[in-house]
């Protein structure tokens, strides 16, 4: 089966965004497992996944009832805010304005936090695992809906997201360490560009803009955003040095 450019972009965006979220959730689940054992970590993660599934099952059917233009506009604006937030942070990290996100450091901080509460019950550790899976999972669900719902691409976007989550969970189970070698900022940079491109496209569709090339316009927006983001890194570096 051949994927259209929009479907391919939806699969890739959902896969990469979910990869980043899954790596962040895995770091916290592993911290809990290291300090309190696999039982609270696993139970918390399972409960988080079950809550997510319940949210999707309860709210999913409402998507079909929203008029398409309104759905495109709302999702487009939310995606624009979400994608630009990621892209801004990735640019500032690449330019050295803010520190890079370090999974080893996040793991150490979470572990120290959990060890500080030795008097607390295991369920508090499980709650940390639950919260991580639920919050990062909500972002995954949002990305899947955002890149997939406007053009009936929910299934390919879900497959991309599921593949990323299964991949990260499998690697995490095998190596039992945070995935510090995943180039998280590069991924965030790429995902920020893709999600912002989708956001501009859907917002325009919702406003009735006749984009030239229809779905192919997403690739053009992505290229323009990538050039602008790389230029922003080059411009921000000397400005940050001068301010330091």
């Amino acid at each position: 089966m051949l994927l259209t450019p929009a479907a391919s972009a939806a699969v890739l965006a959902a896969f990469l965004a979910s990869l980043v979220e899954a790596v962040e959730a895995l770091t916290i689940v592993l911290s809990v497992a290291t300090v309190r054992g696999w039982k609270p970590a696993g139970l918390g993660a399972l409960a988080g996944t079950a809550t997510l599934a319940l949210i999707v099952l309860l709210l999913g059917p409402f998507l079909d009832r929203v008029p398409l233009h309104a759905l495109q506009l709302v999702i487009g604006v939310l995606l624009l805010l979400f994608g630009m937030r990621w892209l801004r942070k990735a640019i500032l990290r690449a330019a050295g304005v803010i520190a890079l996100h370090d999974e080893e450091e996040a793991f150490a901080a979470e572990t120290a936090e959990l060890r500080a509460h030795t008097d607390r019950l295991n369920w508090l550790a499980g709650l940390a695992s639950y919260k991580a899976v639920l919050l990062e999972g909500l972002e995954v669900v949002f990305v899947v809906i955002a890149v997939g719902a406007g053009r009936g691409l929910l299934v390919p976007a879900s497959i991309g997201a599921l593949a990323a989550c299964v991949l990260v969970a499998a690697v995490g189970v095998v190596i039992h360490r945070p995935l510090a070698r995943v180039p998280e900022n590069t991924l965030k940079f790429a995902v920020g560009v893709m999600l912002s491109a989708f956001g501009i496209f859907w917002t325009g569709e919702g406003l009735g803009v006749p984009w030239p090339g229809e779905d192919l316009a997403i690739l053009g927006f992505g290229a323009l955003l990538l050039i602008a983001a790389l230029a922003a890194v080059r411009l921000a570096r000397p400005a940050a040095r001068a301010a330091a």
Binding site: V77, L78, L80, L81, F82, M84, R85, L87, R88, K89, I91, L92, A95, V97, L135, L138, E139, F142, S196, I200, T203, G204, L207, G208, V209, P210, W211, P212, F221, L224, L225, A228, A229, A231, A232, L235, A236, R237, A239, A240, A242, A243
Partner: protein
């Protein structure tokens, strides 16, 4: 609610600028049918991002 808001808003000024651009694009789409609103949206978002990043770097 705060956690949900933080999914979409990191820097308040960038979020406000993007919402203002969408509102302007909606006005343009309503008054001038065609690609003009799309151009406002595309160039406005890119400009808002560049301006925000450079301002943050100078801080």
């Amino acid at each position: 609610m705060k956690v949900l808001l933080e999914l979409f808003v990191d820097d308040g000024m960038l979020a406000l600028a993007l919402l203002a651009i969408v509102a302007l694009a909606a006005f343009v789409a309503w008054t001038i049918p065609g690609l003009a609103a799309g151009l406002v949206l595309l160039l406005g978002c890119v400009g808002a991002l560049l301006g925000n990043v450079i301002r943050a770097a100078r801080r």
